[in-house]
């Protein structure tokens, strides 16, 4: 157990680091986007009463990228939010690599299984 114990500690350090960095970066992006959004649209009327879904340009990666290039606040915020959602997913990928390095194949399998559930969500989100 002493050998694998050391590696568990390593994994903890990496995971802690990934989570913290992910939150900091995504919040910085959301903040920048928020300032631009308020500067441009601060005086329009807020309406969230009826559900109509977010505008087209925020629904696809291409649309978001386009929005960032053209300096659209909401696209930049959305990019930050995508980074935030990606943070725990990246954490899972790091755990999978960690378990492979520990030669703990049972948990490598469990981790990849969890990852697959999320990927299924990504590909079926639009359908159904």
């Amino acid at each position: 157990m002493t050998g694998s114990n050391f590696k568990d500690k390593d994994m903890q350090a990496v995971i802690g680091w990934v989570l913290r960095l992910g939150v900091i970066i995504s919040m910085a992006v959301v903040f920048i986007g928020g300032v631009i959004y308020l500067y441009r649209h601060g005086h329009t009327i807020a309406d969230y009463k009826t559900f109509s879904g977010v505008p087209e340009f925020l629904q696809t990666p291409r649309g978001i990228l386009n929005g960032i290039v053209t300096f659209r606040g909401r696209a930049i915020i959305q990019a930050g939010i995508v980074l935030l959602i990606a943070t725990p997913v990246i954490r899972i990928i790091c755990s999978a690599i960690g378990f492979i390095m520990e030669k703990d194949y049972l948990y490598t399998g469990i981790t990849i299984f969890v990852l697959m559930i999320i990927v299924i969500g990504m590909f079926t989100g639009h359908a159904g």
Binding site: Q12, F31, A46, I77, I81, L84, I118, G125
Partner: protein, 278 residues
């Protein structure tokens, strides 16, 4: 209401939601959703999307610290995440078919349950008995205290797993962390010491929420104009709360105040749901 006023109101509200949430352990989502829907008349689907994003931020932020200290049990977390992510996905898909008033009523019921749970006194029991499954899955572990390492065993893995599936569905359906349900699974059923169960629950919440967030994102439920003040406010509030918590002697009265607020909000959500106002 202009966007700038609307954003500022949410920012302040979210700050206090995050502050109270971290001080009482209930999470910010339980206040954010009633604030957005009851006070600002935001459509509940948008409110759920924004709350879910704030849940990912606060859980990732605080999990980072606990994981480094070695209190979180990564294997228990990883194994139970099978149940919570599958549940979250199911919950997110279900929410597309369940009508808003029904969601409001379910939300109210879960809120009342969470409030009661936050008041329950926690008695630390270290179980040394370990089930066969816990051994096979290497779930038993230890955590550091000021004196030495405390070893613990895990029981009733199957029961805990099923409870986690339910917690995941609720999280995906309502856009909250459903931490109180996760703690029930780990504390009461699996007999994991609460220091480990609360931190591991926190660790899992980010992944659970991310699983349903990928569905909500594609469905257009996550509006950047709304998510921005919610996520920034809740995160700053939670940061302040964790700083206060280190110095605070007792948060007993605060728990009571918060539980009462949450119950009042819950009753209003249920009332508005039943009368079809949401």
């Amino acid at each position: 209401m202009s966007v700038i006023v609307f954003t500022l109101i949410i920012l302040v509200g979210a700050y206090f939601a995050g502050l109270l949430g971290s001080l009482t352990g209930l999470g910010g989502g339980v206040v954010i959703i009633p604030l957005l829907t009851l006070v600002l008349h935001v459509n509940i689907h948008y409110a759920i999307g924004a709350s879910l994003i704030s849940v990912i931020a606060t859980s990732s932020g605080s999990a980072a610290a606990y994981v480094r200290e070695g209190i979180t049990n990564i294997r228990i977390g990883m194994f139970l995440e099978i149940a919570t992510t599958a549940g979250a996905l199911l919950g997110a898909v279900l929410s597309l078919y369940i009508h808003a008033p029904v969601i409001a009523v379910i939300f109210g019921v879960i809120l009342i349950f969470s409030a009661i749970m936050s008041l329950k006194k926690k008695v630390q029991v270290i179980s040394q008995t370990e089930s066969e499954w816990a051994q096979k899955l290497k779930l038993n572990g230890s955590y550091p205290t000021a004196e030495d390492e405390v070893k613990y065993g895990v029981r009733k893995v199957g029961g805990g797993f099923i409870m986690m599936l339910f917690a995941g569905i609720i999280s995906g359906l309502l856009g909250i962390g459903s931490g109180s349900l996760k703690v029930v699974a780990m504390d009461s059923i699996m007999r994991i010491p609460f220091k480990v169960s609360t931190t591991t629950s926190n660790f899992m919440i980010g992944v659970t929420a991310a699983a349903s967030a990928v569905v909500y994102l594609q469905r257009g439920y996550i509006d950047p104009g709304l998510s921005m003040p919610v996520v920034i406010g809740v995160l700053l509030g939670a940061l302040t709360g964790s700083k206060i918590l280190v110095h605070a002697k007792s948060s007993g009265w605060l728990r009571w105040v918060f539980a009462v607020i949450v119950t009042v909000l819950a009753v209003q959500m249920i009332y508005n749901g039943v009368t079809g106002k949401i």
